[in-house]
């Protein structure tokens, strides 16, 4: 019998411990991994987050003159890998966790990024913001842009490879002629 009385004592002492949700909200602790939010003004469209996302909640869609970065909360694990990977801190996990919605559309976020054309072949390649970011980062390391950098920054990777290949072949030919 004493067992039951002890239990009753504990139950009365502790009382009700639940919250009257949603009227009364439980405080979320600092560093809660909630919904990831993309800062549209800083994202450069590099795709680092897309590469590392374990559940493919983030995807990059390629169109003629834009890239679409899609984030679908329905697949998101709230693991925060994207936040760690982002080179410009454009993606942050905020403390919001109530994501239930009646339509799928509410759970989708889309960011459109303008692409730039290659100076040589005229094909669209990377995003404008990525080039701008690259130019900014270059200035942090060097005082001014070198000729090589300004000549090549707007060439697409295929054209750049071709150019380097030609230069290499040229150098090789010269070296052979000298011998």
């Amino acid at each position: 019998m004493s067992g039951i009385l002890n239990l009753l004592k504990i139950a009365l002492e502790k009382g009700c411990v639940t919250f009257n949700y949603p009227k009364e909200k439980n405080l979320t602790p600092e560093g809660l991994r909630g919904k990831p939010e993309i800062d549209f003004n800083t994202c450069i469209g590099c795709g680092a987050c897309v590469e590392k996302c374990p559940s493919n909640a983030l995807s990059l869609e390629e169109h003629e003159d834009i890239w679409k970065l899609n984030l679908f909360y329905g697949r998101c694990l709230m693991c925060g890998v994207c936040e760690e990977e982002c080179p410009v801190d454009a993606i942050k996990l905020i403390e919001e966790y109530e994501l239930a919605s009646k339509t799928k559309k509410d759970l989708e976020v889309e960011l459109q990024l303008i692409r730039v054309k290659c100076k040589k072949c005229g094909e669209y390649f990377t995003t404008k913001r990525l080039i701008e970011n690259m130019m900014k980062e270059y200035l942090e390391l060097q005082d001014s842009y070198s000729d090589d950098f300004t000549n090549r920054i707007l060439n697409c990777p295929t054209c750049r490879k071709k150019e380097w290949g030609e230069e290499l072949a040229e150098a090789y030919r010269e070296a052979r002629n000298e011998n």
Partner: protein, 549 residues
């Protein structure tokens, strides 16, 4: 010095062992011919008292035109694991079953049969295990040439249940496929005489998700830990840890010292919350709901601690190959230590009050008995084994992370009944609380993450972690950029085949808590079975249900 077990096996079978290679300090691979397999395993398992850890089949056709079969046996007291590897040529597609010698190999061999199409000759029970009834017979999902374009056959489900010889004297009681208290799919068929259960048949595999295949085909080394965590909703980071350990061993990489200690904190937090969850559910299963409320009240404080440390109540997403993803700062550390001391007072108070209740005790005492001999025979793991006086714990025996620096006792009971399993878990929580305290107080300084440079392909590696339910074994063969083969052996896979023994000759009313006493962890259902009073069964599959609606 060579290990005693290895010496004994080599001494007896030196001509029959083709090759040996050591893959880590405690693991050795013995390559043997398939003709000698049953003889060598018989000696190692039955005479040397090994513990069956896992068995894996691998499609290695592209590399050496063979299938690989790996039988993994462990000797906890000798800190030794041996993998017996045998090759099966692509044209043969058969091997000799060892289920008659090692009863716990039953499920593993059936799984190899289904997933790889290798037929275990002489298997006493060659029914389906994991795949659904309408899965085509000649398509094997874990072969590398499998293409995911075959539609299900949509044929009528027809699972051959075991039926006793004089079936008409028994009542058939279906139990499942949805366990009412653990909310997971498992189907038991009880043949009862009055209240007494005389024969039991068990069916699992209602939602085989094929996680291993997803990992092998779609994911990379760094994203698999997140998938591994989702194998189980309760002991997720145990799986992430076991996978991480296997990858780190394959890469001969040592995680930073601080990361090792932090991992211990998360693994123990998970053990506490899992055991408290189980204690609550067990109280509920015997109709004692005050116990459920009180245990879960204490458990929620642990969940808040996890939320503070990781950002999530569950599915921490913290342990990855290379270290951990979040550090514990001093402020958090102080807070957790303060909370822990309060929780441990509250917990002791609660368990003393509850476990002195005669109603609860009499309900749990003397039911679901598993003797020490049978526990060893079925290689059961974790608290189930420790309640039957089998002293195994991979934290102590195959020590990993920072466990070698921490002091803890191993609660052992010799009764082997449900009460013993409850008491083992109750005492383990106290031990875990002390482990977390020691780990937080002794936390060394330094980085928590270092990237792994290179993971060599074609390396076999094993990760062993003591989860709340028992030893969790992850076996990997590395490939290019991702795992070539990943085999997960969760502890329930070892414990569940022993439930028919515990249930034999028990009362029907005790069945829920006996099944619950191994803390089973299964997954979600897709169909249900109705049996009418004339013992004729009618099976509703998804299609019929949809038509009816």
């Amino acid at each position: 010095m060579e290990n005693e077990i290895i010496c004994k096996i080599i001494e007896k079978f030196h001509e029959k062992i083709l090759k040996t290679h050591k893959i880590s300090s405690e693991t050795t691979i013995f390559e043997i011919n398939k003709e000698h397999l049953s003889e060598i395993i018989d000696y190692s398992y039955n005479s040397l008292n090994g513990c069956f850890l896992t068995m894996t089949g691998t499609d290695y056709l592209k590399i050496n035109s063979n299938f690989l079969l790996d039988y993994m046996l462990g000797w906890y007291s000798n800190k030794q694991i041996i993998i017996f590897r045998t090759k099966i040529h692509r044209d043969e597609e058969t091997f000799t079953s060892i289920t008659n010698i090692v009863p716990c190999a039953d499920w593993y061999e059936r799984e190899v049969k289904e997933s790889l199409g290798l037929n275990p000759l002489g298997h006493p029970n060659p029914r389906k295990l994991l795949l659904s009834d309408d899965w085509p017979d000649n398509i094997f999902p874990l072969r590398k040439n499998y293409k995911n374009e075959i539609p299900p056959l949509n044929k009528e489900a027809n699972y051959p249940f075991d039926s006793p010889e004089n079936a008409e004297i028994f009542n058939i009681i279906p139990y499942g496929p949805y366990h009412f208290a653990i909310h997971e799919p498992i189907y038991f068929r009880f043949y009862t005489e009055g209240e007494k259960i005389s024969k039991i048949d068990l069916r699992v595999g209602f939602n085989y998700r094929g996680l291993e295949k997803i990992a092998e085909t779609r994911m990379t080394y760094s994203t698999i830990p997140f998938l591994a965590e989702r194998i189980c909703g309760i002991c997720g980071s145990v799986h992430a840890e076991a996978y991480t350990q296997a990858v780190e061993k394959a890469a001969s990489f040592e995680a930073p010292e601080r990361a090792k200690w932090i991992r211990v904190v998360f693994l123990e937090i998970e053990r506490i919350h899992s055991h408290l969850l189980w204690l609550g559910v067990a109280s509920h299963m015997v109709g004692f709901d005050s116990g459920l409320m009180q245990f879960w009240r204490v458990r929620d404080r642990i969940m808040f601690l996890a939320e503070i440390l990781t950002g999530n109540r569950k599915l921490y997403g913290i342990i990855v190959p290379g270290g951990v993803r979040r550090d514990i700062n001093n402020r958090k550390k102080e807070h957790v230590l303060k909370e822990l001391s309060e929780i441990s007072i509250e917990y002791t108070e609660l368990t003393t009050a509850l476990l002195n209740l005669t109603t609860l005790k009499t309900r749990l005492k003397g039911i679901g008995f598993l003797s020490q001999g049978e526990a060893k025979k079925f290689s059961v793991m974790g608290p189930v084994a420790r309640a039957s006086n089998v002293s195994i714990d991979s934290r102590r025996d195959y020590t990993y992370e920072a466990y070698s620096n921490l002091e803890f006792n191993l609660p052992l009971r010799s009764e082997g009944d449900v009460l013993a399993r409850t008491l083992v878990r109750v005492n383990e929580v106290t031990e875990s609380l002390s482990i977390i305290k020691q780990a937080l107080e002794g936390l060394p300084d330094g980085p928590v993450y270092e990237p792994i440079e290179y993971i060599p392909p074609d390396t076999t590696s094993v990760g062993i972690v003591e989860g709340p339910r028992g030893t969790d074994v992850h076996y990997i063969i590395t490939g290019e950029n991702t795992v070539y083969r990943w085999r997960v052996r969760a502890p329930t896979y070892a414990n569940l085949p022993a439930t028919p023994i515990m249930l034999k000759d028990q009362n029907l009313a005790d069945a829920p808590v006996i099944i619950g006493s191994i803390d089973p962890c299964i997954s979600c259902a897709e169909r249900f079975i109705v049996i009418d009073n004339k013992n004729r069964e009618k099976i509703y599959n998804k299609k019929i249900l949809e038509d009816k609606i």
